[in-house]
């Protein structure tokens, strides 16, 4: 449990650093130092608003994670519960099966998209092809790694 406690402390430091980066970025964006690379003023403002909203949402999520970790670090019972939840074997299997299913479905959709978009837009078709190739190569490398490791 001490190892897990240590990993939570590291996680908290990373979360704090991320929150700090987001806040600094938002301050710089609000003061006009940063602005989206869009020439049209209307779209630039719209996009700046979207980025600000996304950054705010990310900050809230980070804060929730930080509070959850701090609560677990204060109480042994909460820490054990969080550890059991995060290392639950059934949940790990649920995630693994869901991700594998989603991966296969996305690949099939992209393969169809390569053919369909090939008739309308070559850049879109080539982009889909690049994604499928990258996905397949990375997937094969991971399979090879786990095949040797397990």
């Amino acid at each position: 449990m001490e190892k897990y406690r240590k990993s939570l402390r590291i996680q908290n430091l990373l979360i704090l650093a991320s929150i700090l980066c987001l806040v600094v970025m938002q301050i710089l964006a609000c003061s006009g130092v940063f602005s989206p690379a869009v020439t049209d003023v209307h779209w630039r403002d719209m996009y700046a608003g979207f980025i600000a909203g996304a950054a705010f949402a990310m900050t809230i999520l980070f804060v929730i994670g930080l509070v959850k970790n701090l609560r677990a670090l204060r109480s042994e019972a909460t820490l054990k519960k969080l550890y059991a939840k995060e290392n639950d074997e059934r949940w790990a299997q649920v995630c693994s099966r869901a991700q594998s299913g989603a991966y296969r479905l996305c690949t099939m959709i992209l393969l169809v998209a390569i053919i369909v978009t090939g008739y309308f837009s070559i850049p879109v078709s080539l982009t889909c092809l690049t994604i499928v190739l990258a996905q397949s190569i990375i997937g094969a490398l991971f399979k090879l790694y786990w095949h040797r490791k397990l």
């Binding site: 054990k80 519960k81 550890y83 059991a84 939840k85 290392n87 639950d88 074997e89 059934r90 949940w91 299997q93």
Partner: protein
């Protein structure tokens, strides 16, 4: 896979949550094992059996594997 977990748990007047806490898993996992939707891994099966002071074979029914 059939198990005797529910029967053993009820005999000791334990809730699923309490058993889950004792073996370091979640209530949902205990529920799934009890109803036979999920087969526990060997370490978890050992922890559950050890908790009740029994062997794995006494808690889990492996007769389905013989067929």
């Amino acid at each position: 896979m059939k198990t005797r977990i529910r029967e053993l748990r009820k005999a000791q007047k334990l809730s699923q949550e309490e058993l889950a806490d004792a073996v370091g898993t979640t209530r949902q996992t205990i529920t799934s094992i009890e109803v036979g939707k999920y087969t526990a891994s060997l370490p978890l099966a050992y922890k559950i059996a050890h908790f009740f002071g029994l062997t794995i074979e006494e808690v889990f029914d492996f007769s389905d594997l013989d067929a």
